[in-house]
Assembly symmetry: D2
Homo-oligomer: 348 residues x 4
């Protein structure tokens, strides 16, 4: 839809993880490593695994047929596997995607990309905490009026205020590592999640696959979407903590309060005197947007049977948006923290 | 993000209303017609209005500066007006955007495009109702087992079932006209919504502007977002009614029930015998997606002061998605209704 | 749970419509009038209808068995009908609940009570609009600083501000009548919604039933929940409009802005100097609460088959809360509007 | 509102934690232990701490004045402290609630009760996992048709199915301990969250208070609501996992599939042959209810300034409901797991 708006609420770095090419690359990585792990387990000839790895590397997708496949099948995988098998050649075709199902490829591809995304978010979070600490070093001793229930309460300091912004970010930063480690796992189950098609070697193959892909290992979780729900919760907790900062800044930057000045304010088309706290407002927006999406994401926990097309697709519509919104919020929070000037004087 | 996924849950025709070029075209239409209405009211020389209309027609935007403007100001309008004034020339520049504010342009542009969108939805809804009636003519007398609380209840007919699908669509179709008429209105208020800059001619100008733009007339509603909330509700009611159809089809098409066959089912990458009811599942997904988004859209009713950057931006993130999801749902429902075959025999 | 909290966010008058006794009374009213309408249509002997009406009037429920019935059956109706048949006596028992199903009783009972609730809301809305107009008469000419994007914009007047509060309430007041008329309808369908058990007299009985109950007539809508979704939307639009007022008041009553003083502010346990704008905050809370609940209510539009226990029950958990929250919001808004004092002086 | 409905979607044991008397008891516990911790730190005479402890034990609240206080102040604490000071006597009154603020009492009281609630949920979760394992021991080797995308996929076993139900519950059970340990913390900050009123002894007092109350220690978190958001997420993940079980049971118990029989099915008022899977449906309802509430709870992360009346109150409306819904879902899941009979025969 609007590309322009992406400059405000999108995030090019984060969106890159959710492009079709990134998805396809991760899917091919899955297929290549799966064949390799299956070769190690003796289910696939070494030569086939090598050829499949090459095919994955040289693969040129027919995008329009992938699109047709998606429309018809609800997932691109049947068509993708067909194309990949052609690319691998008749002799090796049977070993492509052996014992796997669409959901294995799609969920693992998503997890691979979420891993990159979480690294991006962690790095931005580190940077933001550091920027807020710089504010603390510069302005920490300044007086600031605390407000409760929208009324003046008592004086405290800028350092006291910044503590309330930084502390949740630190907790979320610590949690980020736990979340990434516990929740970013491979998916491997085969058609109905039993790994039965892997002839007793399923767990061994899963372990090797996880290791080579750099994800945590886990039993099949096709219809168990708690990890997805928990990932979403972490994202919304983070954008919520940033939304609180944005709301505070917008309030403190009110002309009548003027406890904060922003180095760069937005202009108005009709009122040239104005300096609008645009990034602060965007943080509030993204927090509320993500909060609502989290509620929708958790609707998809009711994942019927062994694979729910409806609940799964709902995740696809929601989770990438939450990732991008969170990344955008971090970007704005960082810019905002660099443009904040606290007004006032040091506490004696 | 994923372009491929748009084939499933997006809708090219609907998305076109929310592209940057469509937005810009509608904004320019607003500016041209505003100048014309102001000329009729004697606030702008006729010659200026003509030149502004021409400038709007010939305008070539500098997109990258519009993007910068959006990032800085939270809206593209200050930068757009600057460019448009340059295009109109120094003599006429003061008459461009005279007495208007960013929100006037942006909200009216959205309403203009929503008008086209609602026409699209109405046309598809008509087509869907007709397709369902064709099913009724073909299969209406067939026996069908009714189910309540997920258990067999009593036999009724396919016509009885189709009535439960068609009746809400008919109500929503009727409501569509009311909604379009009552809710699709111009926005014109000036900086703080009082039309004070229009020197007593505000209401006259608003009336002329509404007429020439083909929207309903209304007093300024900058901070009064009930119309937006109600538009969203209609969209979600419609996608919800379609989600109910999708859920019913998925249930009736279960192999063990087999009351419905779909002419075109989706394939599985691992289970060639399967025929998946993909469009039915998509309808359920889109209903749940829109329901959640509606809850978020209504959060933006708490629109603080005379213009809330935060609440307004939240609408921009949500409402276009709801429009597209509803259009996509109608497209799938139409395709689905054409691929449904009821299995069974006529009631005696 | 907390009864105390009901003093803040509950509403005794509104809650009364959703008590078990109010529900039971409305259910008995349905059964009595159904028997009467069926008598008029010749399906039930007049004497039976009279006896059933008497039984409904004298009925003393065994609440603990109703509770057991609810737990077991998911609805109280099977047990209630059993008790009511005993009360009516063996001879008339077969005519009790004739041709109806649980959903007919429950949905109609709810609609009857919603009718009372909407009358309550309409009356409060009238009162609130009048109270705001009084503010306009008293303070309308006062200067007030307008704020856009959380920054000072331009001076306007208290009347300009009040217009932004009153106008949506007026639209919602007008819509209230339409909503009540279009959406508050009887439910009558029998086991699978076809009225087949009423032997060709279903439509005639429905018409008489609607007339005698004071509800609008409608075909069976067991699995068509658009009316419920639209009722919820109206509630959330109203609480949202009130939340906007609350947010504005909280902002204008900030000590640093002090454009509004509240006659009665809340105290702090630790800061005796404070005067907290409690009802203004409550309005914001209730708006956000209802917005979220609306999203959940629309999830129940995906009402599978001829009657969904799961989707229907979700409505029961959500809609009464929305009604009470809206009534509470109106009560607070009214109190607030009576305690507002605008500070300043008249515009010249 | 409806007390009857509480038999279905409420839970007496869980609700008890959220009664006014439980709240008051926990608040008094806070005040008594605070005075004791302050005595140990030398801020309060030992004798005063003893008298305050006694006053807390013997305290008889004037509920109607507490209600008035809540209505006026938005919290009961100012009025409660006033009553408690009277009870403690003039000499000790100044030491009651010394250095604390309303939010300290209210948040700590909630955490104390959440601790009990989480113990209840953990115990039920253990019981449920054990009940599901019993099903596995009894039926694990039975054939069962797996379904993906609402279509028959391949045969697997009841044990395979049960694994998909049990595994998320086990993860959530492990997470329950982490959540309780990390997130159930005391609140102590004083008026603006700095512990300044505790004269340098704040951290020491907090540590002693946490220890004596059996909660984890933490710095003040008045405006940092990430813990609340994360608690809510855990609740919704659990009810979501149970909703998935409920959905599966409802699908498997369809007459046409009949892979599951329920020992106790619900009756219909019009169709005596039916056996409705009521508890399975309730699980789906509660999952969707909690998912929606989670989205609303995360809206309250945007907690403006040092204390937001609006955002805080939103938590109070949402979190207790989520707790009760989750407890009710566990109760139904347990009952359901005891009434499930898988139909079929052992796999060879």
């Amino acid at each position: 839809m609007s590309k322009l708006l992406d400059h405000l609420t999108g995030d090019a770095e984060a969106e890159a993880f959710f492009s079709d090419t990134a998805d396809l690359a991760a899917m091919l990585r899955f297929e290549a490593h799966l064949a390799q792990a299956e070769a190690e387990a003796g289910l696939v000839p070494d030569e086939a695994a090598r050829h499949i790895a090459e095919a994955c590397q040289n693969f040129q997708p027919d995008w329009s047929r992938l699109a047709e496949g998606l429309t018809k099948d609800g997932v691109i995988v049947p068509e993708l596997v067909k194309q990949l098998r052609q690319c691998a050649g008749e002799a090796y075709a049977p070993y492509v995607h052996l014992g796997a199902t669409s959901q294995d490829v799609i969920d693992t591809s998503q997890m691979l990309r979420l891993k990159g995304l979480f690294q991006l978010l962690a790095a931005r979070l580190d940077e933001l905490i550091e920027a807020l600490r710089r504010l603390e070093r510069e302005y920490g001793t300044f007086h600031l009026m605390a407000h409760t229930r929208m009324q003046q309460a008592l004086l405290f300091t800028v350092a006291d205020k910044l503590t309330t912004w930084i502390a949740p970010l630190q907790r979320l930063r610590i949690n980020c590592d736990r979340v990434a480690n516990e929740l970013l796992v491979i998916q491997l189950g085969g058609p109905v999640g039993t790994r039965a098609e892997l002839k007793g070697k399923g767990d061994q193959i899963a372990e090797a696959l996880a290791k080579s892909l750099g994800l945590s290992n886990a039993p099949c979780w096709h219809s168990q979407r708690d990890r997805i729900g928990e990932l979403g919760s972490w994202l919304s907790l983070l954008s919520g903590a940033l939304g609180k900062i944005g709301q505070d800044v917008a309030l403190l930057a009110q002309n009548e309060i003027a406890a904060i000045k922003l180095a760069t304010g937005g202009a108005s088309s009709a009122m040239p005197h104005k300096s609008n706290p645009v990034p602060a407002e965007v943080l509030v927006t993204l927090a509320r947007f993500n909060a609502g999406l989290l509620g929708t994401l958790h609707q998809s926990l009711v994942h019927e049977n062994e694979r729910s097309g409806a609940a799964w697709l709902l995740e696809w519509l929601v989770l990438p948006q939450m990732c991008v919104a969170t990344a955008a919020a971090l970007r704005h929070a960082l810019a905002l923290s660099r443009s904040i000037q606290f007004v006032g004087s040091s506490k004696m």
